[in-house]
Amino acid sequence: MSEPVLEIRNLNVGYGLGDQAVRAVRDVNLTLHRGEVLGLAGESGSGKSTLAYGVTRLLPPPGVITGGQVIYHPGNAEPYDVLALSDLQLRRFRWNETAIVFQGAMNSLNPVHKISTQLTDVLKAHDPKMSEHSRNVRAREMLKLVGIAADRMDAYPHQLSGGMRQRVMIGMALILQPQVVIMDEPTTALDVVMQRQILGQLIELRERLGFSVIFITHDLSLLVEFSNRIAIMYGGRIVEEAPAASIYRDALHPYSAGLLGSFPALRGPRRELTGIPGSPPDLKGMPSGCSFHPRCPKAFDPCAGNIPVLGRPGTPDGSSRSVACWLHPTEQPVGL
């Protein structure tokens, strides 16, 4: 495996303080390697977006990071902890090193400014010495890269279709050539045809430019196809993390298996599917032990009492994956 570019260590993120506090992300350990696409899947409320915002320190109050480290490896310099950066350092870190594409690109562009202005603004803010001409050239280049004709530079967001707006957002994220791009449900609002075009383009760009992607979505079948590794979150914790193919062929955690069994297949025999019974847990009253146990078809004695630790399972391909489930007790916990 290639070297890591972003390491999340024991990250805890909560909302609110005191008695009202809700722990949305609990003890998450995750490593993003250079040039890979890491998929992050889970239901709404599982903490996947909170994790992304926590890592980039974009979390608005009352969100607070209550502990942990996020180590960034710049490649040519010493690694540093993103959570310890000062405001000025953070300003330099953002967009230059990590960029984020938000959920609902439709609303992320400013409707009263031309897209050319919005693209060059980024350059102006991060590289004040750049001339106006070269800014324009760069913006044009970027649009071409994401497949939009350069004559749409002077269009307003409402003049573009949803797919084009999403491409502009991706172009904006890549304009400073960051090492890490975080995409928070980038294609949920789009049609399947457009979704495939944009993801295909993204993968192509990644091969050309060599950045790493954290891809957040609830659509597991999409992740299996497009990402290298998948981490599955439930109730604020990572319950399983493995190469995409291993998850698909042989999911160890009952929740991952349940998620995979929730998608009707387009090909192959028609089978009766059940989904997962029950409803997602309330973050305020999290069940004891494994937070999935009230919905788990395979729950047994230890599940209700003890929280399973994320670690390497004893299966043959155990060295490349980790799981937090009492069905697969571990001797090598991750990140402790």
Binding site: E43, S44, S161, G163, D191, V192, V193, M194, Q195, R196, Q197, G200, I203, H218, D219, L220, S221, L222, V224, E225, F226, A244, A245, Y248, G258, L259, L260, S262, F263, P264, A265, L266, R267, G268, R270, L273, T274, G275, I276, P277, S279, P280
Partner: protein, 352 residues
Amino acid sequence: MTSIPDAKAPADEVVLEAIGLTKHFPVRRRLRDLFSKRHDAVHAVDDVNLTLRRGQVVALVGESGSGKSTVARLLAQLYPRTSGDIRLHGESTKVKAGTAFRRYCARVQMIFQDPFASLNPVHTIRYHLTRALKIHGNAGKTEDDLEQALHGLLERVSLTPPERYLDKFPHELSGGQRQRVAIARALGAEPEALLADEPVSMLDVSIRLGVLNLLRDLKERLNLAILYITHDIASARYFADETMVMYAGRMVEGGDSETVTQSPAHPYTRLLIDSAPDPDRLTGVSEAEGEDRGNGEPPSLIHPPSGCRFHPRCPVAMPRCSVELPVRLEIGDKPGHWAACWLYDKTEAVSR
């Protein structure tokens, strides 16, 4: 509380039918248009034919903007139609408001996409369901009848025990439970047809199937005719007996779900199926964006393309496609499988 006429209704009796259904939304005229004779309109739905039968699910699949929700709203008579006909049990119906509309509603109910918006946040579940029962005269005579009817409704949608849910407010329920309440409310009218406009797309993936399975169960138990609108063609295969594909306001293909998804005939349906996420295509990333794939975007519906509306994106378009509007043509592999595409015009093939 049930008086569903199952004895006199054969299983595949036609409940609701749309014939040549068309809806154009007028576009606001600008100053310069006042001097011209131009009257622009968005051609949201053009010439749609659709039949809902008892105990069957028909899926309507298409991208957003293809007009599939407009079809549902036309069938629910929430929009007046521009032309065409809607027939309830063979009888042409056009209702605007008042008692006629209520009577129609009692037989054709709609379920909306967003259960977070379709329930009033300041009222309890009891209020929502009681209203539906009372308006459609299914509340019975006494308090006890009503209470029993309420329990019956919640039990039907598997919200048990009912007492636990009746006096809750919508915000106290999860998305799946809310959608179940919305379904219960629709059932309160004891309808014959349900129009479900993307009933699961706002729900979490893990509970979508629960709701779909519930709808299927209700279909079988209550002998309902269901129109299932979705953009997810895989779920149409899973849930629907018959699937119709819509593109830019027109039906392009129809047939039983298995045939349409396994051997799609229209180039647009093929594009749709190729684009759907497929975990089995693990190497899909490296696959080139081939030239034989349709690209581009759905057309403007104000000035839709002449001829076949898909021809500007179609990888196999012929000169004829941009001129002549394709008619429904039988594919011939399975009975009832048709596509509106000139590729399947046998007479043309013979004369060539």
